[in-house]
């Protein structure tokens, strides 16, 4: 009789303990630029996280517990990113982190998470070194800067007649621009394509006409433009056209070439420009399509790479947290999530995800980088004001236009 009472009491206590834990939401931290010049990007992630959050909580949360995403403002400053990351981890007691947006801030966040032993799932920042420092607490879903141009490489190799006879490469002097510019030049050299112009420009240049004049003098077969800032992307293209450059193809690398602004500002000048690396899921996949429509219905904008990456990151974390056995002890739980992430093997609207250690195209030794990243690059093309995937064929939404029709 005593034993029965005891066991019932114990069971009751167990229920009490687990329900009190059940009552506690699962918190994920996400530093983003909420104010300051990068705020528009932070807003994209806010929307994407918001939608994922709603869906997951509506479906019952994670093992019955509500999910909460805490966004903190880092104003695109490295120092602040470190500050808010620490705040989220020590004060906010978050179980995991995501976000960052730009590579400089992501680097600080990764450093903090590694030291404070909290899992950090990189959703968008692309600098190779974030997952090339051997940080076992840092994971990345999206492709790195050096992986970005792989679809381009595939295109010029496999599309008949696409191999450039010569190429001019113009890139900005940020980490992003230099990584991608470097990767592109490496690809071209490996295929014996003469690089007739190699121009690095300072970010937020007011005037590209001189650079384009110089490039025009080299008469390139392909014009490859790298821009981390959307304004540079627009001006580069505009001034290139103004100076009368007529290569067989304009290829843009960088977020700015893939957002709605590009076509809004340039109108007909944007037609037929290729945008490489703005991977935003496979548009031929019905699940991805459903996601696009739902997002558009909710926020009245079409999601592109930032939104898809943010949305998927939350699902990846949710999946790992679901599998992790959480005990309420913060350090143990964070480690459990880390272990669960190591075992991740799933499909999101972004694509397949599995984290592994492998060597990148420029030789970086990656730790916990999504092994499917090389497949997650695509060439898209601006057609009639819409950005449509055109290569590889499996992800193509339309047939591509190449070479660029000569204007009279």
């Amino acid at each position: 009789m005593m034993r029965r009472v005891m066991s019932q009491a114990l069971a009751a206590m167990g229920v009490l303990v687990s329900t009190s834990m059940l009552a506690q939401p699962i918190r994920i931290g996400a530093p983003q630029p909420v104010t300051g010049p990068d705020a528009p990007f932070g807003d994209k992630f806010k929307k994407a996280y918001g939608m994922a959050l709603e869906e997951i909580n509506a479906a019952g949360g994670i093992n019955g517990r509500k999910l909460e995403i805490v966004i903190e403002d880092h104003q695109a400053k490295n120092q602040l990113a470190a500050t808010v990351a620490e705040k989220l981890i020590t004060e906010g007691k978050v179980l995991a982190m995501t976000g960052g947006r730009a590579s400089g801030q992501a680097m600080e966040i990764a450093s903090v998470c590694q030291r404070l032993k909290t899992p950090y799932l990189v959703d968008h920042p692309s600098a190779d070194m974030i997952t090339a420092k051997g940080f076992e607490w840092v994971f990345r879903n999206n492709p790195t800067g050096s992986i970005y141009p792989m679809a381009f490489s595939d295109f010029i190799t496999n599309f008949p007649g696409a191999m450039p006879k010569s190429a001019a490469v113009v890139y900005d002097n940020t980490l992003f621009g230099k990584t991608i510019g470097g990767a592109v030049i490496k690809i071209l050299k490996a295929k014996n394509v003469p690089v007739v112009a190699d121009e690095a420009y300072p970010v937020n240049t007011l005037d590209f006409k001189p650079t384009m004049t110089k490039v025009k003098g080299t008469n390139p077969d392909y014009l490859l433009l790298v821009a981390v800032a959307p304004t540079d992307a627009v001006l580069l293209t505009r001034h290139a056209r103004e100076m009368g450059l007529s290569p067989r193809a304009f290829v843009g690398f960088g977020g700015g070439f893939g957002i709605a602004d590009f076509t809004n500002q340039l109108g007909p000048l944007a037609e037929n420009v290729f945008s490489s690396a703005a991977w935003s899921g496979n548009p031929n996949d019905p699940k991805t399509k459903t996601f696009y429509e739902k997002f558009h219905a909710k926020y009245d904008i079409w999601p592109h790479e930032h939104e898809v990456e943010g949305y998927s990151a939350i699902y990846i974390l949710a999946d790992a947290i679901r599998r992790a056995k959480l005990t309420g002890d913060l350090d143990a739980d964070r480690d459990a999530i880390r272990k669960a992430l190591l075992a991740t093997d799933m499909i999101t609207v972004f694509g397949k995800v599995k984290f592994g250690n492998w060597a990148g195209p420029l030789g970086d030794a990656y730790t916990n980088q999504n092994v499917y990243s090389p497949e997650q690059t695509v060439m898209a093309q601006w057609r009639g004001g819409q950005l449509l995937n055109v290569w590889p064929k499996a992800f193509a939404e339309t047939t591509l236009v190449f070479p660029e029709p000569v204007k009279k």
């Binding site: 010049p37 113009v170 420009y201 006409k209 001189p210 003098g217 304004t231 103004e242 500002q265």
Partner: protein
């Protein structure tokens, strides 16, 4: 030769717009001996004026310049009357620091109000450039160039033919003598600051279709402005014009024949060199 001609023309056109930005600053310096660090933000406000004018009322920027310039003039006078007037007696450095604070305030208020989104002004006639003699010239830039010349001409007429203009020039030469001649120096200062602000705003409107706008663009522009004004000699309007065109050409040719990476660096080195060795400007016109 083609490349050279093209980059020269591009440089001159862009340089003229740099000059426009610089004229406002140099006029204010000439009369009041203050370097207005918030000048870049005045240009930014002009740019946004052109943008909202087009977005909200479908006004072509080159038309809305007629609306915004007088408004900026008023704004400048108010800024002087209610903010700067009490600060200037505190000394050059205090004023410098004050305008630095003002610059930060305006830029960040704009950032808060209009968000950091980059915007451009698309003009239907801005898409295809004209190509006289095979040199590509963007239409909005060409119009801006012509208007800049007209504005500068109007400024010159104002300064040389009107009483107020003469008062401004007199005060610029010697404030003490001006007072002795019975000129209301305070009024002159207020008008001059209004003028400088109006010129900045106009420059912004002319620039806007050829560039992109965002609230913190003033940071970039003020630096170019300083280079222009120092090259030409602080306080000299013709100096600012020459300095602007020179900077435009140096940057353009520099980007083509040296390297895009160091193009800005060339400007800074030139700037430092002039500051140190020819402080009255390349043409000796400064004060």
């Amino acid at each position: 030769m083609d490349t050279f001609a093209q980059s020269l023309v591009s440089g001159v056109l862009t340089g003229a717009l740099y000059a426009m930005i610089g004229i406002g600053l140099t006029v204010v310096f000439g009369v009041m001996r203050i370097i207005n660090l918030a000048h870049g933000e005045m240009v930014m406000l002009g740019m946004f004026g052109a943008f909202w004018g087009q977005r909200l009322w479908k006004l072509d920027p080159f038309v809305s310049i007629l609306v915004w310039t007088p408004l900026m003039f008023l704004f400048g006078m108010l800024v002087y009357r209610f903010l700067l007037k009490k600060i200037i007696p505190g000394g050059e450095l205090n004023t410098l620091l004050y305008t630095a604070g003002l610059s930060l305030l305006i830029a960040n208020l704009a950032l808060f109000a209009w968000s950091g989104d980059y915007r451009t002004i698309s003009l239907s006639y801005g898409i295809t450039p004209v190509r006289p003699l095979g040199i590509a010239i963007s239409v909005p830039l060409a119009i801006a160039f012509v208007l800049a010349i007209l504005v500068t001409l109007a400024l010159w007429l104002f300064l040389s033919r009107t009483n107020l203009g003469r008062a401004i020039r007199a005060t610029s030469q010697s404030a003490e003598a001006a007072v002795l001649m019975g000129i209301d120096v305070e009024r002159v200062a207020m008008v001059t600051f209004g003028l400088g602000t109006a010129l900045a705003g106009a420059a912004g409107i002319l620039l806007a279709p050829s560039l992109y706008l965002y609230p913190t663009v003033g940071e970039l522009l003020i630096v170019k402005c300083f280079v222009v004004v120092v090259l030409g000699g602080l306080g000299s309007v013709p100096g600012a014009i020459a300095g602007g065109i020179l900077l435009g050409v140096v940057e353009s040719l520099g980007a083509v024949y040296v390297s895009s990476t160091y193009k800005d660096g060339i400007g800074f080195v030139l700037f430092l060199a002039v500051l140190l060795y020819r402080p009255s400007g390349l043409f000796g016109a400064g004060k």
